[in-house]
Structures are given as C-alpha cells and as structure tokens.
C-alpha cells in the first residue's frame, strides 16, 4: 500500500464516509428502503428547479461554497433525464461542481430519472433521508431541468428555489401555472446580463402569495446576491402544508404511473390495453390496466 501524501490525509479520512454513503445510495437506487433521518434542522434540504441552462448547477456550486465555509458537510443529488428510447442517460451535472471535486466534505451523486415523471428519480426521497441519516448536514437537490409539472421536489425539500435567467423571459409563461406556485424563492441568475431587472418587475406582477421580497437577483459568476439567497434558503420554512400536500399527491401519482408502467411488462395485459386504446375506448383501457395491475 502506497503511503497517502500528507495533503491528502483529509481526503483519505473523508473517503470512509463517502464510500458508506455511496454504497447506501446504490442500495436505494436498486429499490432499497434506505435509512431514516433522526429529527433534523428544517432547512437541511434545498431544491433548485428551473429550465435547462439557467445555471442551477453553478448556483448550487456557489451555495455549496458558502455551506462549506460554515463547516457543513454537503450532499448534492443531481437528476438528469433517461432516454425513453434506450434507457441510457448522459449525466453532466458534476462538471459545474468541479471546484469541490477534492473536498472531502462535498459528495455529488448523479441520478438518471429512469422514466420517473415529476423531475426526480424514484430513489431521491429515500436518498435524501439516507444522506441525512448518515450524518451529512445539508442536501441540495437538482431535478431534471424542466417545466411546470416538475413539482416532486417540493414534496421532499424544505425550501425550493426557482432559478431563471434573463434569457428565459418568455419561458416564464410556461412555468406560470405549475412550479411558480410551489416555490419559496425565485432567483434570477445571470443578473449581470441585460433584462434581469425587467424580468424581476414582470415576475413581481405575476407571482402572488409568496411575498415580493423573495425574488432575488443573483449571479453565480460574480457572487451578486448569493448571501441574500443563502439567507433566505436557511430561514425556517413556513410549513405551507397545502403546498406540500399538493406536491406529495403529485409525487405519489408519479410513483403510481411508474408502477402501472411496470405492470405493462406483462405482454398479455399490454396488448389488451393497446387493443382497447386503439379501438378508441380509453376509459376501458384504463380500467383494464388498473385491474391488471391489482392482480400483478
């Protein structure tokens, strides 16, 4: 065994914890129940949602830096889509988190959505609990870059930030009805670019119920507004049960659709459902599917 260089001693020490968590997360992804966290702070889990390319990973990287300055040990769970055609996935969120690559207090795990709708993979809720149970202090969740129905993260995070950028001005329309109602904070990233304050004005006029103060101009690149955003995501949650319940229902429905899809692995059931749907009787197809799934 080659001696570990002195400067790597901290890494070697962190390695034990990393391997413990890595193995536990793999168990969860294979369908294991994972561990349950003991009572924990109400700001331990932060989700950052938003369209692709707005800078969610870069913003997480900047917030991780601040958490590390406080001595917190941080886990990032990043989800990217699986191909519905091949099941394959390209998971690239680590690239933006490169500055933490040798920090033994930062653990980054990439998940493929594996056909799960709602912006997360089926493993994420248990993965979050498992990370906290193993003594990591803070968990950042980055769902698939998506749109209005990707609200599963609201069911498992203490705070959810919607990240947008000045370029995504028109895309906000697509977000209006869904996720916009569910988030605690809107971060307008790339605030150094033209259009940022115009977008803030527009969002202030459209976004009701969560208070105008929670729209923050930030720049992951130059550090603008990060302290403000960090503070807001560490406030005690408002315990908005109706919002959380709505997200939970949505998440359970997403789980159910995955379970129903799995029951279609039965070729007889699958062809019967297709025949009914092809004949134009969708409700009969649904009844048949639910019946078949119950007996599966």
């Amino acid at each position: 065994m080659t001696p570990v260089p002195v400067e790597d001693a901290a890494v070697a020490e962190g390695l034990v914890r990393m391997r413990e968590l890595a193995g536990a997360l793999s168990d969860v992804e294979r369908g294991g129940a994972g561990l349950r966290a003991a009572p924990r702070p109400s700001d331990a889990i932060l989700g950052l949602v938003g369209p692709p390319g707005v800078g969610k990973s870069s913003l997480i990287s900047a917030l991780v830096r601040r958490a590390r300055d406080r001595g917190e040990r941080v886990v990032v769970l990043a989800v990217d889509p699986s191909s519905p055609m091949t099941g394959g996935a390209l998971l690239g969120d680590r690239i933006r988190l490169a500055e933490h690559a040798t920090d033994p207090g930062v653990f980054v795990r990439s998940f493929a959505s594996r056909g799960h709708p709602g912006g997360l993979s089926a493993a994420i809720p248990a993965a979050v609990e498992t990370a906290l149970a193993l003594g990591w202090d803070r968990v950042f969740i980055e769902p698939v870059g998506g749109g209005q129905n990707d609200v599963d993260v609201v069911a498992c995070a203490d705070h959810v930030v919607l990240v947008v950028s000045p370029e995504s001005g028109d895309d906000i329309q697509a977000l209006k009805a869904g996720i916009l109602e569910m988030v605690d904070v809107i971060a307008i990233n790339k605030a150094d670019r033209p259009g940022a304050s115009t977008l803030r004005t527009m969002l202030r006029s459209q976004w009701r119920g969560r208070g105008q103060g929670s729209i923050v101009l930030v720049s992951a690149a130059d550090g603008t507004g990060l302290e403000d955003l960090d503070d807001r995501t560490r406030e005690v949650g408002d315990g908005d049960a109706s919002r959380r319940d709505a997200a939970l229902v949505s998440a359970v429905l997403n789980d159910a659709s995955v379970a129903l899809r799995a029951s279609l692995a039965d070729a007889t059931l699958r062809s019967a459902v297709i025949d009914l749907a092809r004949a134009g009787d969708r409700s009969a197809a649904i009844r048949h599917l639910l019946e078949g799934a119950r007996h599966a």
């Binding site: 080659t2 997360l25 191909s83 091949t86 996935a89 998971l91 680590r94 690559a101």
Partner: protein, 130 residues
C-alpha cells in the same frame, strides 16, 4: 443498468472523442457520467467513489496515457475501487496496449476502434443485464 464514469485526465483539451463515446454508450443504454476536462487522477477516483460506477473510462490524446493510467488505477485502488474495470481510449500507439493492460487496464481502445467493439465490450459486462 451499467453506470460509467468518463473522464479526461491531464492537460488535454480534445474532448470530441469522449463526447462521441458518451453518446454511443448512452444510446446503448448506459448511464454515463461525464466529468469534464482536466481531471486529476485523484478527482477521477473520488468521482468514481461518489457515483459508485461499474466502469471507469479514460480518454487521452496527449501522449501521457501510460503515466496517467497508472496514476488513476493506483488512486482507484487506494480508494477501495481496485476491482472496478478501467478502460483506456484515445491516441494510444499499438505498442502501448500491452503496457496499459499490464498496468491493470481492463481494455484498451486505440484510435480506429469501432463503435461495435466498444459496445460489445460493455454488453459482455455482468452489470449489463441487471
């Protein structure tokens, strides 16, 4: 589901090859984690630990493939992942292939290797069916 970490160690900015590889492996049904340019052997080993991957793939067009492969394999061993296969691709002179497998590389795919050959190697992995 096979999880693969793809990395470019060292000071080599040529990432066309590894991006093509990432795409064909994705299309072959793998979950591919790409870590970006300029990775040190230590960073690659830590990423492999965190992602708990089945395979570590290195792409090098810099000429430093022997030293870097040796370092990555050593770091993986120290991190407790000595049994995970490491595959090496890129601008590898044929005379270095045996040298790399001697260092512990599970497979070497020099310039000119067909997609079919690489996908075939992955299809033969025990994880490919799970």
């Amino acid at each position: 589901m096979t999880r693969v970490l793809l990395a470019k160690p060292g000071l080599d900015g040529h990432d066309k090859g590894i991006k093509v590889l990432a795409t064909i492996l994705r299309d072959a049904g793998c979950e591919v984690i790409y870590t970006g340019l300029h990775q040190t052997p230590q960073k690659i080993a830590l990423a492999a630990v965190q992602e708990d991957v089945d395979v570590i793939g290195l792409s090098m067009l810099s000429g430093a493939h022997v030293d870097l492969s040796r370092d990555v394999i050593e770091q993986l061993r120290e991190a407790g992942l000595g049994e995970r296969p490491v595959i090496v691709g890129g601008n590898i002179p044929l005379r270095d292939v045996a040298l790399l497998t001697g260092l512990g590389a599970a497979a070497v795919f020099p310039t000119g290797t067909s997609y079919e050959e690489i996908i075939g190697w992955f299809a033969a992995l025990p994880t490919a069916t799970s």
